[in-house]
Amino acid sequence: MNRAENALYELNEMDELANGNSPVHRFSALAKLLVTVIYIAVTMSFDRYDLSGVLMMAVYPYVLFQLSGIPFRTCIYKMRYIIPLIAFVGIFNPLLDRTAFVTIGRVPLSYGWLSFAVLFAKGMLAISASFLLAATTRIDAVCAALRKLRMPAEIVTVILLMYRYVSVLVEEVGVMSNAYHLRAPGQKGIHYSAWGSFLGQLLLRSMDRAQELYASMLLRGYHGEFLYTAEAGMAGRDWMYLLTWTAVIALLRSVPVIQIIGNLFM
């Protein structure tokens, strides 16, 4: 397997995770989608120095990892290419903002480092929440939920197709890079002189294949409407899920829980 095939394999494994059967999987996609959106929005809204507040938000992913039986390290592994990017977003903060806010032993810790930590924590929490949604909810269920929320059919179709096309694209990269390396033995990566034609070819090939794929969807009656849109509604337990989490998230946002716990012991 080359790297592209590996990536494809992992993508397919997300489908398998999403087809699991934990209590979390069984809640409606709509409820999970709404909770995820609320959670990410609220997490992002914390002050840039409020580390303890942001860290408390980890309650949500923690509980979901426990309930769904999906190991946290699976998330880390799947997101391993994204995590460095999150770190990169705040990497300059420590350089720009050097005022010390606390001194541990003799080492001063600056506000820059603090805001870096907050940014990184926010990013990790958002990624975990998105991962949990993807790993516990099938893509067509998510799409059906989006339709339920009145998202235009065209946009939802694009989302679904993007998800399907990514694998097509990755597969073509795999085939082409194999073909390239068979005729350029011992070369690492693809020589930059071939990038242009490689990309052009890749685009054409994936467009061809994407067209075939879309054709076969059309042939089986796809018309932009989702299979289970009708079933994408929420039953009593889904409302419970949504309301409970909304309440918990609101609580975590408005009450400085760590300080209260701290005060209890002081």
Partner: protein, 241 residues
């Protein structure tokens, strides 16, 4: 039930692929569509399904193929693509089989029952809950055929159904095709398979119908086949090897 009336088509101006194709296929017929690489076989199928628009008239059950009738036409004609990877786009075999029926209004339960029925009919019930990316090429081809049959088409179009299959799976597909009662149009370079599955052959060459007749007649006509860069089926080439 299927009629091409003087159909012409060109992908690029001044390079016609088909120029004036006419034929008529009756209900229940099994027709092999043969011709050299690039002769235009796949193009004929795409025209029939309305993915391409050419000149002339194409009728399915007396319904002309055009924008407004596409849904109807595609309900009647099931198409097994040459590449099963492009055909199977849902995670599991079962979901793929249910996709079509549910789109045409079945409930989930009905669609699953339909899927069970089709899988059992093809002797591949064991594939039901398997993931599409974890089954072999032959199994995938069978599953692709199943996903089309689940739509209960009256006509089956198959583009190279035995390409890239090993002898065992090739035999499986041939036996399956022979058992299916639908009207069929099959393209292939595997002329032995065509002989096994079709009673009539249409040979496309030079943009037109170069020959149209009983399979045994055309597939034994060495001169005609060689003129179109084809060879006699193995069983007829006998002593010449």
């Amino acid at each position: 039930m299927i009629e091409f009336r003087n159909v012409s088509f060109a992908y690029e101006k001044n390079r016609p692929v088909l120029s004036g194709i006419s034929f008529h296929i009756d209900e229940g017929e099994n027709v092999g569509l043969i011709g050299a690489n690039g002769a235009g076989k796949s193009t004929v199928m795409k025209l029939l399904l309305g993915f391409l628009q050419g000149e002339g008239e194409i009728l399915v059950h007396d319904i002309p193929v055009c924008k407004d009738t596409l849904a109807e036409i595609r309900k009647i004609c099931g198409f097994v693509l040459q590449n099963s990877d492009d055909q199977m786009f849902m995670p599991t075999v079962l979901e793929d089989l249910m996709f079509g029926p549910v789109n045409y209004g079945m409930t989930k339960q009905q669609a699953e029952r339909k899927a069970d029925e089709v899988l059992a009919g093809l002797d591949i019930a064991y594939l039901k809950n398997r993931y599409n990316h974890r089954i072999s090429g032959g199994e995938k081809r069978m599953a692709a055929v199943a996903s089309v049959l689940a739509m209960e088409p009256e006509v089956l179009l198959m583009d190279e159904p035995t390409a890239a299959l090993d002898p065992y799976n090739r035999r499986m597909i041939i036996n399956t095709i022979r058992k299916l009662p639908q009207t069929k149009i099959i393209t292939s370079h595997d002329l032995d398979m065509i002989l096994d599955t079709c009673t009539r052959v249409i040979l496309i060459g030079g943009g037109t119908v170069a020959a149209d007749g009983p399979a045994e007649e055309i597939l034994t006509n060495k001169k005609l086949l060689e003129a179109h860069r084809l060879e006699l089926p193995l069983r007829f080439s006998g002593s010449s090897i």
